[in-house]
Amino acid sequence: MSMLEVKNINVYYGSIHAIKDISFSVEQGEVVALIGANGAGKSTILKTISGLLRTKTGSISFQNQSITTTIPHKIVAQGLAHVPEGRRIFAQMSVEENLEMGAYTRSNSEIAPGLERVYERFPRLKERRRQTAGTLSGDEQQMLAMGRALMSRPTLLMLDEPSMGLAPILVEEIFDIIRELHKDGTTILLVEQNAQMALSVADRGYVLETGKIVLSGGGIQLLQDDAVRKAYLGG
């Protein structure tokens, strides 16, 4: 069985049918990219997986357990971490408090080693640990959001547009981190509008258009696909 198995889910906002009968899966150790234009439904899928939204029909299972109707905080406790779009760090709390919140489902004794691991990966966060998170720069906030999610020692990490709003050089930096995480064996479900970057790190990818999956394949394969190049990579 796959680590994450999404089967024929339909998600609505009131009468708006946002996700139409989508199925996909993520295997242990993979980086899987979901790409698509504005409003395609990428964030909706991640929110549904983490329990913030509910499916009307269809099922989601994680590590062979159904999480279709599980409440969000229990899903996190099962090892699924979601870095939401726009980072959503706790701006008025300190950097370190944000990281502690990431470890909320873990026992207190795991906080110190967790902080150490995250600070090792993100030395800039360590320098700013006492600083109010809202005063961090955009890329530092993204690192904090990712570090915060890693504090829960997730089995599956979902990233919603980690490159959003960052200068190209900082986008490179964030994707380097994703590559590192991948190399260390973290399983990642990556949502991006930046198809070029996303597909270049992904093992596999799915292309989403107005709530439907229209194409899927290996990362490199999709990068070279004519339709994908035309629609998402500027020719």
Binding site: G51, L52, R88, I89, Q92, M93, E97, M101, G102, Y104
Partner: protein, 329 residues
Amino acid sequence: MGAAIREKGDSGTHRVSICVSPCIHLYYKYRKGRIYLMLIVSQLINGLQLGSIYALVALGYSMVYGIIMLLNFAHGDIIMVGGYVAMLTIAAGVNPIFAVVLAIAACMILAVVIEKVAYTPLRSSPRISLLITAIGVSFLLENLAQNIFGANAQPFPNNKIIKTSSLNIGGVQIGVTAIVTIVVSVISMVLLTFLVQKTKRGKAMRAVSEDMGAAQLMGINVNNTITFTFAVGSLLAGIGSILYCCTYPQVSPTMGSMLGLKAFVAAVLGGIGSIPGAMIGGFAIGLAEVLVRAVGLSDWTDGVVFAILIVVLLLRPTGLLGRPMTEKV
């Protein structure tokens, strides 16, 4: 002493009076100054006493607003319930300390029940429905109390809880009730600050009030955290209730509404949603009230408090320490 010197003769009297009269003058000035000073100190203590009660109650408004953006108008009436529980249990012969604990526990249980029954089902409704529900709960509690206990105020056995005597500290008479009120309030606020700043629960409260969705993604049980916030807010209100009843020893069905409104003004003045703001706002309103009374305008105290509310809302709606509220998704 002056008389003894004066016996020495006319010339002496003259000389002495030149030397002594400014001394006496200074002495009287000093005494007058001291009286003023003592007056100021005792008024200041009155202000702090009243202010610390407002602060305790204001904290509940602010914390609940911070976490679910609800102006919980039933909060003041919780205080009234605490007052009646303490009065009735003491009248029934319960040990006063135990009665106080019972009253505070009743406040907490009532607040949590109200949250679960009346507010939780409306979590995703428009905020105005929540507000109207809160006002409805407030009316319900007041009218229930009126039906059960009658509309008249009843005496509160304050002397069974805190001694009514006063202490002479540096020439200033300070009531034991005032000292206990201020000390208990300050200790409660220090403990609350520790809870909110340092403990896992407290940090979760701050996380939920900043961003409920993100807090869920951290694995925080949002419902529990909200309930916990109501419990802590009403714990403080319960303590405030006992202290208030000991200061103004009577209970009535509407006692909570004016106290609640003033504490609400304190919370707005401090910046609704801000915990240190509620404390500062509470003390500021208490001191302002006592000041207005001290200059002889007792009839104007309530008016001044609400004038403060209007001025704050016009000039600085976010209050002293509040941040502009951003809409959360």
